[in-house]
């Protein structure tokens, strides 16, 4: 039985580890400025936890085989523990875990402790059951007033957001169903939600943030490659949660300017 246990535990360990190392299923390709640091921190954590995982499982399997009871086995060791060992491994574990956390904290700080830079592309992202809307401030650079009582989701676009036609600032706001941004420039997203909590998740950008009703949350990320990247809703929001997806199109600055200009022209 000891041998069987060893084999089963070791096999499970090797199989699991294989798929992790082979990256059979892995993060999608990252296309943002934060990708390198984040993926690196992940790799460090991954290797350390992986080593501990393999060591612990192998030791467990080995011990249950090596110290199985059989007739010629020595009597079990009457030991209540070893204080020195306890202190050593407690200290090492504490240093490892806390150290790992401190190592990764600059990434968090860079993402979240500072506001977006001036000149970032500003997009207001509004979530509602079950769609994403994106609003650009238009030539006046200001987001106009949106009133909850004016919302009409069935009409789409400006009406879904409840833009107030009486407000001059909202007349030039561009509302789209696809989020288009220029590559290489920081994007400031202002996350809002109308009804319940949603979450704006773009795996390729290593970006996620909940959109909470009653709050306007300012976040930023910087896309570094062009392409189309799927947006998933990452907070249970109702029966349509699974199909509340959007698309982030990262294009060149020129293309973005042309596209935005065309959209703004439509508003005249």
């Amino acid at each position: 039985m000891g041998l069987v246990l060893l084999c089963v535990i070791w096999l499970i360990t090797f199989a699991s580890t294989y798929f992790f190392i082979a990256k059979t299923w892995w993060f999608p390709h990252g296309a943002s400025a934060s990708t390198a640091a984040l993926d690196h921190q992940f790799a460090v954590t991954f290797i350390l936890m992986g080593v501990i995982f393999v060591a612990a499982q192998l030791a467990l399997g080995y011990f249950v085989w090596r110290y199985r009871d059989h007739s010629s086995a020595a009597r079990a060791d009457y030991s209540h523990g070893h204080l020195g060992l306890e202190l050593v491994w407690t200290t090492l574990t504490a240093i490892l875990f806390i150290g790992l956390n401190l190592m990764g904290s600059p990434i968090w700080a860079a993402e979240r402790f500072r506001p977006a830079v001036d000149g970032a592309t500003r997009v207001e992202v509004t979530a509602m059951q079950f769609a994403w809307y994106f609003r650009y401030p238009g030539p006046d650079g200001k987001f106009g007033i949106a009133k909850p009582e004016l919302e009409d989701p069935s009409a789409g676009g400006e009406a879904a957001l409840g833009l107030d036609p009486a407000d001059p600032a909202s007349k030039d706001d561009v509302v789209t169903g696809i989020m288009e941004v220029p590559v290489g420039r920081e994007v400031e997203v202002i996350l809002r939600a109308h009804d319940v909590i949603h979450s704006f998740f773009v795996p390729a950008m290593r970006f996620k943030q909940d959109a909470v009703p009653g709050l306007a949350i300012h976040m930023h990320f910087t896309p570094t490659e062009t392409g189309d990247f799927e947006i998933a809703c990452a907070e249970l929001c109702g029966l349509g949660h699974y199909k509340m997806h959007g698309m982030l199109k990262v294009v060149s600055q020129d293309e973005f300017d042309k596209w935005l200009a065309a959209r703004e022209a439509e508003k005249q």
Binding site: V8, L38, G104, Y242
Partner: protein, 576 residues
């Protein structure tokens, strides 16, 4: 509630007093256990429906028909709620704790037997109310076991969010009260009713785990109750604790000024200690069983106690790690992440000590030991995905993906369950006077170990690939399509694993009636429950009071006549 002193009432007569409204902690323990047993099969059935729907979304099932997205989400909600509350918070503590805490400390019953009886029946009422949610108009709620507002607070947020959601909250509120009654009993009993010589540091680690779990429950369930009351008020009488100004389907909700994050803070202040409530008794049982079947004292008893105490204490300081993406201040997030990494340390200590117990042991592989060994393996696997989620930066790609249920299922959904299995196989002889079948137990063990790893280890891969949680279908996002193969594998593994539990069920009931008769101490264990008759008499020790002279894990004591010294034997020369 003090009117009845346990050892003053003689054994009850009559079916109702003996088996229905019994005041005997042993009967009450069995009542909790069997309630949890029905709940776990309900919960497993719900999860099978979920897994089947994920890979065959358009399938039409017999009797149930097609599973709509809202139905899927109500399966998710009820699976989580039933498993967390009515299985993991019920079987280890209410079941085994009730049965064995008094016996292991040498007491004739719990401190307040009437309260004990009431706490079980209150739990039962909560269970019935929860199940009723399936059958009302609109069906069961779809807001997940975490019940985030505003989704849970708005009646119009989806099907099931009407009466079903109200029943869910009411059931949980009733459960809170039942748990608090139970916690009261456990704490008072442990502090006031230990036999002579049973100092706190001579208690078996199972007793420590039940004691600390009860303290966690005492402090946490009041907060959940408060959150539930506020949520009921928001839903039904128009207050705005959790509801901001907003619209749903274009209609103003009529609320304003409230904070969805307030719900999350209150819920998780309860919710994080709750997961330690779910795992600590399993740790206690693992220590107990590992020591018994290694014929060795537990490695580092004092460290084990302090580790459990630290886990309990730190468990109240980490709740924000569920909220890194919530819109909470990033500085607060950083503080919570440090505390969360810190709580990994006592867990690691316990793991090292379990390995230390196995080192230079003489291991016997009867069924309880298999599950205790499995517990250690699963705890390592599930625990090590924690440090990923504990770092807020890494939580960004991983939060609300399948990585998270991979993590908590390995720990709660498997390791804690293995703790329950280990306890069942270990204490079955004492409770029922018969042995369970070892062959069936081994088949059950290996199928379950391999099966659960096959279901939940791949969830981590899915999470890395970005598969979000709580999606009723994986058909809409292009990047999820390549993951269908792995999901299919997991579903088949889940079906096999659930089927394997029928072997356990059969073994359990068959052995109760037809198993070979058990001696008083078939495992040659040292703790007090093994000194008394099998099954124990009404007052646990047959009119005698045990006196404790030894520590709980005196195995292989040099110079002793046998390789175990029971706690009530004359004192060993090398006192613990």
């Amino acid at each position: 509630m003090v009117a009845q002193e346990s050892h003053q009432h003689s054994a009850p007569q009559g079916f109702i007093r003996k088996w229905v409204f019994s005041l005997d902690h042993k009967v009450i323990g069995l009542q909790y256990y069997f309630l949890a047993l029905t709940a776990v099969f309900v919960g497993m059935f719900l999860s099978l429906l979920m897994r089947i729907h994920l890979i065959w979304p358009t399938a039409v099932l017999p009797l149930l028909g097609e599973i709509k997205p809202e139905t899927y989400l109500s399966l998710v909600t009820m699976h989580g709620t039933i498993m967390v509350f009515f299985v993991l918070t019920t079987a280890p503590q209410g079941g085994f704790g009730n049965y064995f805490l008094p016996i292991q400390i040498g007491a004739p019953d719990m401190a307040f037997p009437v309260l004990n009886m009431l706490s079980f029946w209150t739990t039962f009422v909560a269970y019935v109310v929860m199940l009723a949610a399936f059958f009302v108009v609109g069906g069961a709620p779809l807001h997940g076991w975490t019940g985030y507002a505003p989704l849970s607070a708005l009646q119009s947020a989806g099907p099931g969010q009407g009466l079903g959601a109200d029943l869910w909250i009411i059931s949980i509120a009733i459960f809170c009260i039942a748990s608090l009654m139970g916690a009261l009993n456990f704490i008072t009993t442990t502090l006031d009713m230990r036999a002579r010589g049973m100092s706190l540091m001579r208690m078996p680690l199972t007793c420590w785990s039940w004691f600390i779990t009860a303290i966690l429950g005492l402090l946490a369930f009041g907060v959940l109750l408060s959150a539930g009351i506020l949520l009921l008020m928001d839903r039904n009488i128009g207050t705005s604790f959790f509801l901001p100004l907003g619209t749903i389907n274009g209609q103003l909700t009529g609320h304003k000024g409230g904070s969805p994050l307030l719900w999350q803070h209150l819920f998780w202040f309860f919710g994080h200690p709750e997961v330690y409530i779910a795992i600590l008794p399993g740790m206690g049982v693992a220590s107990q069983v590992l020591s018994t079947f290694s014929r060795k004292p537990i490695f580092g008893y004092k460290a084990m106690v302090y580790a459990m105490l630290s886990i309990g204490l730190l468990g109240f300081m980490v709740w924000g790690h569920h909220m890194f993406m919530s819109g909470m201040s990033p500085y607060t997030a950083f503080a919570f992440s440090i505390m969360t990494m810190a709580i990994g340390v006592p867990s690691a200590i316990k793991t090292f000590n379990w390995l230390g117990t196995l080192h230079k042991a003489r291991i016997r592989f009867q069924s309880p030991m298999l599950f205790a060994i499995g517990f250690v393996s699963l705890f390592v696997s599930g625990g090590l995905s924690g440090p990923f989620l504990a770092q807020p930066a890494l939580d960004i790609p991983l939060h609300d993906t399948a990585f998270v249920p991979g993590h908590f299922h390995l720990i709660m959904g498997v390791a804690a369950i293995f703790g329950i299995f280990a306890a069942t196989y270990y204490w079955f002889p004492k409770m029922f006077g018969r042995m369970m079948n070892e062959k069936l137990a081994r088949i059950h063990f290996f199928l379950t170990l391999i099966g659960t790893y096959s279901v939940f280890m791949p969830m981590h891969y899915l999470g890395l690939a970005g598969q979000p949680r709580r999606y009723s279908q994986l058909t809409e996002l292009a990047y999820l399509h390549p993951l269908m193969g792995l999901n299919t594998f997991m579903t088949y593994a889940a079906i096999i694993t659930v089927a394997a539990q029928l072997i356990f069920l059969f073994n359990l009931f068959w052995s109760m009636f037809k198993g070979p008769k058990a001696s008083d101490n078939p495992w040659e264990a040292t703790t007090l429950e093994w000194t008394t008759a099998t099954p124990p008499p009404h007052d646990n020790f047959g009119g005698r009071t045990p006196v404790v002279n030894n520590g709980p894990y005196e195995y292989s004591v040099p110079g002793a006549p046998r390789d175990y010294v029971m706690q009530s034997d004359p004192a060993t020369v090398t006192a613990h």
